[in-house]
């Protein structure tokens, strides 16, 4: 299994655990005196599962298993693959902190951080589709 696949999959596992922890914390609020800003984590919980875990797992497996792009460049454009890894994780991590902070604070800074996290994830998706599309072929 190539290194980038391992990195994608192991990172996705970490998000899975973090997401499940947040999921538990969201429910624990009803029985424990937890801070109210936790409620702002609800979209983060869902998207850590769907983007941080599932989508990232798919990126990693796709890098590994899709038909070869060419003999010389079996994975396609590796630089773009690496970019999709860093962009996705920068975007998801930034969203994880910025979205609840933005809900809890006034001031533009967290707002811009949320917007930046959107752009980062969008670019990650484009980078992934660029490479994966090229490899969606007969063999």
């Amino acid at each position: 299994m190539p290194i980038l696949t391992r990195l994608f999959i192991k990172t996705s596992f970490i998000y899975l655990i973090v997401a499940l922890l947040i999921g538990a914390a969201l429910v624990a609020r009803s029985v424990l005196p937890l801070p109210p800003w936790l409620a702002g984590l609800s979209p983060v919980y869902f998207h850590l599962l769907m983007v941080g875990w599932v989508t990232q797992l798919i990126f990693g497996v796709a890098y590994w298993m899709l038909p070869k792009y060419s003999q010389k460049q079996p994975h396609g454009f590796d630089g773009v693959w690496w970019a999709s890894f860093w962009l996705l994780n920068a975007g998801v991590l930034l969203r994880m902190f910025a979205e609840p902070m933005r809900a809890a604070h006034t001031g533009a800074l967290w707002g811009w951080a949320v917007a930046a996290s959107a752009v980062l994830q969008w670019l990650a998706g484009l980078a992934f589709v660029f490479n994966a599309w090229l490899r969606t072929k007969e063999r």
Binding site: M50, V54, T55, I58, L66, P67, R95, A98, E99, R102, A108, W110, G111, W112, A113, V114, A115, A116, S117, A118, V119, Q121, W122, G125, L126, V129, A132, W133, T136, K137, E138, R139
Partner: protein, 148 residues
């Protein structure tokens, strides 16, 4: 990778690009307000990402890699239908939310999605089987001698 899988997977990428673009616009707007009209994109974002991207990608890969019947994928007609039902259903359900169309259109979209999923599962059921067997899990030649 068979042609039908390529069709599924490329359509999944197409939906990913749109669903992601709408999600990113929404998220950007949550941070730096653009226009509240953007919230109308939420149902389309959800439909495209969950069904149009994740489900469709998994179906396409499944059709490609599930065990085959001695190299054959069998009659793929249901999978061809499932492709159209899924994509029409996703866009119908998603757009009906965006434009606040009658609930019947939303429902029609969801029923198309259901029909697509059902056709795919009916088709794929027999391909989830031990290696080296054909339909109904029989080994090569077994069916001929069993008289059925």
């Amino acid at each position: 990778m068979p042609q039908l899988s390529r069709r599924y997977i490329q359509m999944a990428f197409f939906n990913l690009i749109w669903g992601l673009t709408f999600g990113a616009l929404l998220l950007y707007h949550k941070g730096v307000p653009l226009t509240p009209l953007l919230w109308r994109l939420l149902p389309l974002h959800i439909e495209l990402m969950l069904v149009g991207w994740l489900l469709q990608f998994i179906m396409g890969i499944g059709f490609w890699i599930f065990p085959r019947f001695w190299r054959s994928r069998g009659n793929d007609t249901p999978v061809r239908w499932a492709f159209w039902l899924l994509n029409i259903g996703v866009w119908l359900a998603g757009l009906s939310g965006v434009f606040a169309l009658p609930a019947a259109i939303f429902l029609a979209g969801r029923i198309f999605e259901l029909a697509s999923g059902a056709l795919f599962v009916l088709y794929a059921w027999r391909r989830i089987k031990p290696p080296g067997t054909g339909e109904w899990g029989k080994k090569r030649g077994e069916r001929a001698t069993s008289g059925s």
